[in-house]
Symmetry: C2
Subunit: 208 residues, 2 copies
């Protein structure tokens, strides 16, 4: 028993880890997820295959960590009051604030540099429940939480129905964008984001 020898993480090479992150992101962007092999990642990173197998359980896990690392670094660079990641602005105008954030999300989803890895990771999570849970917990939920706080503020300001669950309301706003992007049903544009905000806030029912 207990033959599962855990490697000593204190001796781990941070240099190799970063090189593997970079190589993984680059290769997935260039050739797609399916066609990037562990061996290719190792070769590009100038690293032995075993160094990857020692520290990661799967190709998807490598990519996930690379992604998290990238997000953490770009968040750090961006500083406290950055563009679209560190909280949703509250100017008092809920519709305008939401449009601003959703437009930024549209731009992010349409960014060709991020599209490949993001699609790969999402698709993997759709099929692999374990990885999907990690994806949701570490990447998606923190972002959605920002909406919850902003929507709660709107609720306290009397701009949002008191009986609306912010967690559900948020999905009404975000899910349509995700839907178009993931399934590629129709183009994902700023105009679409605006339309979603207007319809979601105003409601579909006609009023006198």
């Amino acid at each position: 028993m207990a033959s599962t020898k855990e490697p000593d993480s204190s001796r781990r090479s941070d240099r190799s880890r970063r090189a593997i992150h970079d190589a993984a992101l680059a290769l997935v962007g260039e050739r797609g997820y399916r066609r990037t092999t562990i061996e290719a990642i190792a070769a590009r990173a100038g690293v032995g295959k075993q160094t990857i197998y020692r520290w990661w359980p799967s190709k998807a896990a490598v990519l996930m960590e690379a992604f998290l690392d990238l997000a953490a670094r770009s968040a750090e660079e961006a500083g406290p009051q950055a563009g679209g990641e560190h909280g949703i602005p509250d100017t008092g105008d809920l519709a305008a604030d939401l449009k601003r954030v959703l437009r930024a999300t549209v731009d992010e989803l349409n960014d060709p540099a991020l599209e490949g890895p993001t699609r790969a990771l999402t698709a993997e999570g759709v099929v692999d429940a374990k990885l999907g849970a990690e994806f949701v917990e570490k990447l998606l939920d923190p972002q959605l939480a920002l909406y919850v706080t902003r929507l709660r503020a709107a609720q306290e300001a009397g701009q949002l129905r008191a009986d609306a669950d912010p967690r559900i309301a948020l999905e009404l706003l975000v899910a349509p964008l995700t839907h178009r992007w993931l399934l590629r049903t129709l183009p994902l544009t700023h105009a679409y984001a605006d339309a979603i905000v207007d319809l979601a806030l105003g409601g579909l029912t006609s009023r006198p």
Copy 2:
């Protein structure tokens, strides 16, 4: 040129095709998409590997066709006025009609027999644009078209804002369900479907 000899489809064995469909669906349900191999499908179907490679370009294509066939057959069985596939009911009560259909969709998405293959196919479409387009065209769009007609009827009955694009309004209703199911953020229940309908129709904004 023209050395691409197309096989003669008139001599194709329908028996083999069905066996392959069934085997593919069963194996994907049992072992997941990644771990079902073409060779295993052939073995289970009692079919030569080449018979699969002769008629299908990829594993995903086999599954897609199997799925379409299944949908077509179950639609046929269900008859003209079946549960949830052949048009959205129009009782005059838009909210009730939508809840009925979305609840049925929830049940379908939660059906363990269909979950495996559907996830596999969707995930493949997320990554493979060509397959995704086929998936949308042959499976998703026809279903969404039903919403468009129902919503247009509601619009003519004065129950839906005249300035709302039905194609976008539909996404407000359907996307949240897809979102929860695909990403597994929270449980997908009838109560959630009802909440979505109420919020989408009534709007998020508080009213006097």
